[in-house]
Amino acid sequence: MQAVLDAMAERVREAAGRAYHLRLCGGGSKDFYGNSLVGEPLDTGDYSGILNYEPSELVVTARCGTPLAELERSLAENGQMLPFEPPHFGPGATLGGCVAAGLSGPRRASAGAVRDFVLGARLLDGRGRVLAFGGEVMKNVAGYDVSRLLAGSLGTLGVILEVSLKVLPRPAIEATLRLEAPQDKALEWMNQWAGKPLPISATCYLNGELSVRLSGAAAAVRAARETLGGEEVRDGGQFWAGVREHAHPYFAPESPLWRLSLPSSAPPLSLPGEQLIEWGGALRWLASAAEPRTIREAAQRAGGHATLFRARDKSAGAFAPLAPAQLKLHRELKVAFDPARVFNPGRLYPEL
């Protein structure tokens, strides 16, 4: 593996010296995400393998090219899981891509996001140096928390070579309930329930139907089922996998797909197009051909932001524009990590 790493580092130094760009490629499952891909591919898939997994420490460390499916299988064999339930968006999904994209799945609102479980990382920076931040312990405040900064940086700060993640035991029991309600009522319920000690691990609202997943000890799930009411759904596992992977029929149409991240208590948005709501109201998918500006302004008014998640035309920019002071800090950080602008130029913002 050292040879693979040395070759990657050499390639980065060459790119920096000769002023050409590299685009980082894991399994390619999230190539659709962000702005356009620029640069010669740098394949990270060969830098693969689980380095350390101690179930009793609740920590796993693996190389970036490790297939996400393989990692999850190892955890499942020990009754554990990645708590943020990451979407794969394709069979080739790798751990590096998962952390770089920073996308979390249905369990996000109750368990936390990718960044919440990152404990440490090794990074190949824009000068071809290998840097280590954080570690394999739960609590570590030595130095700036660079490893969490890498989650969601879309490869623009460097190649995430290795990551250490906190993992958790799988819940003993899961059950999915379905209730009927109009959108405003469903939002009200989701926010009320989240303020009560109920074992809700996922929610999804679509077309008058609210699906709720309960996870935990058998007795707690049973008690919550009584409290919430509704009908129990048989194929719950398949349903949540479909929502997570965008295999659910809602995601089939060709119209642009927007991801609106809002305060969970934001009232229903009146925007043209169909919505699917997750995360207790904090994540609203919108399939809509409306003007990007209209959608972004509505998200901003509601206290959040809108990402153009999947679309043929991303000329409006995949991500909500940053305020000038924020953009300045982003530029300066990019210079600190990748002064020659080798990695994934423009994928996050045109200025980076």
């Binding site: 009793s56 420490e57 609740l58 920590v59 009754g79 554990q80 996000r108 609102a109 936390g112 996001a113 960044r115 919440d116 140096r129 290998v130 840097l131 280590a132 570690g135 394999e136 312990v137 739960m138 609590k139 570590n140 405040v141 030595a142 130095g143 700036y144 928390d145 660079v146 900064l149 969601g152 958790l168 035991p169 989240a194 303020g195 000690p197 074992p199 935990g216 000890a217 058998a218 007795a219 707690a220 049973r222 008690a223 991240s261 809002l262 305060p263 208590s265 995360w279 994540l283 206290g303 959040g304 932001h305 991500f319 909500a320 924020q326 800090l329 982003h330 300066e332 600190a336 913002y349």
Partner: protein, 496 residues
């Protein structure tokens, strides 16, 4: 602990210039410079380091904070932000040529939203006060550092503070949604969101735990959680500390994530029992406190499993709290561990290393060896669930040799923590205290990157300079001094 703080004189003409400029927009009572007025700010919770600041500024509004920063930036005066001053690593140690920026007057809760389960507060609001404020809604703020009655949320953000419930509920970084404030140039910044994410880099994660080196915050939005309906704690005794350590691993391996999992060794329980009468087993070499919280059904199920696992792992005695009063009494000893130890020794020095749990036995044996080597006692309290050790070295500061031995003792233990794959600080921060040990934990390239990150926010290096990240020159010198386990090369050479 690093070397003693060099004595520095305050430049009187510089001082009067800074005072004059600050008084252009701050009332006279908010700008302190007389020795007797600045003395209360000479140290934080790490009292071994003291230094009077040139000037203390006590702004009350965002606009005043912005102007203090702009003014200092224009004059090239360094700024040291300070919360409640309870920090244990000297992060708020003043500079003789700097302004100490106290955020103590930022004490208001700005908004509580029980539906969205968040509270927007000013940084001077005390940690425990947040939970008190939101208790009527059945909500609370989860991170609970043992100083929670006194420490402020702003300081918690600066240090990424933990507490006894971190394993299940996370650190400050997991429970803060947004911070707003200013860079050293007085530019407003806004990291995070009331949504679950914000566009671009996760600057919130970077700001939390940055020890006041990147920005000064004036507003914090915290996440609130529903109060658990019930909590009960199992107190288990063990015949030796290593068996107790293995029992901790067994609990986790059984798929249980307890709300709290704490260990105390015999010297610590003895010190505490005399002080608070928590009902600890004084014959045990170590006790574990394992808390379960949730619905009554969940707690009942989990407590039964915990008892089974601990019993299989060799617990010699077990008691389960019968009611809330008894639960609080079991915890009272753990929470009072530091003051209790303060009663049995003139001074104590608290370490904060974190290690992989499986190396616990080895590290505790090592600490035992260090007790003999340096002839100093060292009771241990331990956030066992997340591997965070707080060994307390007992010493007498009036004896310079004891102080010196304590420093050597602490240095060896922290280096051991790094050697076994852990860290020099789990939750107290680097500050000035562990700045030399940063040279053990990180290499030249990482330290260079930390300085580059700092420059991205503060190119002139005026915000809390000299803390958290050592200069490369300092590390080169430190590494040269400590190559062979504390044996100086050329020990006969004089060093200054």
């Amino acid at each position: 602990m690093g070397e003693a703080v060099p004595v520095a004189r305050i430049d009187a003409s510089r001082q009067s210039e800074v005072v004059r400029r600050l008084r252009e927009f701050l009332p006279a009572r908010a700008v302190l410079f007389e020795d007797e007025d600045t003395r209360p700010y000479e140290c934080d919770g790490l009292t071994a380091y003291r230094r009077s600041p040139m000037v203390v500024a006590l702004p009350e509004t965002d606009e005043q904070v912005r102007r203090v920063l702009q003014t200092c930036s224009a004059l090239g005066v360094p700024v040291v932000p300070r919360g409640a001053g309870t920090g244990l690593s000297g992060g708020a140690l003043p500079l003789a040529d700097g302004v100490l920026l106290s955020m103590a007057k930022f004490m208001r809760a700005l908004r509580i939203d029980p539906i969205a389960r968040l509270a927007v507060v000013q940084p001077g609001v005390r940690n425990a006060a947040i939970s008190d404020l939101v208790a009527p809604f059945g909500l609370y703020y989860a991170p609970d550092p043992s100083s929670q009655i006194a420490c402020s949320i702003g300081g918690n953000v600066a240090e990424n503070s933990g507490g006894v419930h971190c394993l299940k509920y996370g650190l400050t970084v997991h429970n803060v949604m947004r911070v707003r404030g200013y860079t050293i140039d007085g530019e407003p910044v806004d990291f995070g969101s009331e949504a679950l994410d914000a566009p671009g880099y996760d600057l919130l994660a970077l700001a939390i735990g940055s020890e006041g080196l990147l920005a000064v915050i004036t507003e914090v939005t915290v996440k609130l959680l529903p109060q658990p309906q019930l909590a009960r704690v199992v107190m288990a005794s063990f015949g030796d500390v290593e068996t107790a350590g293995q029992a901790v691993a067994a609990v986790i391996a059984a798929g249980i994530v307890p709300a709290g999992l704490e260990m105390m060794d015999k010297p610590a329980t003895h010190a505490v029992e005399e002080f608070v009468r928590a009902g600890y087993d004084l014959d045990a070499a170590a006790i574990l406190l394992c808390e379960s919280d949730g619905t009554p059904e969940e707690v009942e199920e989990e407590i039964a499993r915990v008892k089974q696992v601990l019993s299989d792992a060799g617990a010699t005695r077990m008691r389960v709290s019968r009611d809330e009063a008894e639960r609080l009494r079991f915890w009272s000893g753990r929470k009072a561990a530091f003051p209790a130890v303060g009663r049995i020794s003139p001074d104590y020095y608290c370490m904060d290393g974190t290690i992989p749990r499986r190396r616990l036995g080895e590290v505790l044996r090592f600490i035992g060896e260090m007790e003999s080597k340096y002839s100093l006692r060292c009771p241990n309290v331990f956030h066992a669930g997340d591997g965070n050790l707080h060994p307390l070295i007992l010493y007498d500061a009036n004896d310079p040799d004891q102080l010196h031995r304590t420093e050597q003792f602490a240095r060896e233990v922290l280096e051991k923590c790094v050697e076994v794959g852990g860290t020099i600080t789990g939750e107290h921060g680097v500050g000035v205290e562990k700045i030399d040990q940063m040279c053990t934990q990180f290499g030249r390239d990482e330290l260079e990157m930390f300085h580059a990150v700092k420059r991205a926010f503060d190119p002139a290096g005026l915000l809390n300079p000299g803390k958290a990240v050592p200069t490369l020159a300092r590390c080169a010198e430190y590494r040269g001094m400590h190559v062979h386990g504390g044996q100086l090369p050329f020990p006969d050479l004089p060093r200054f």
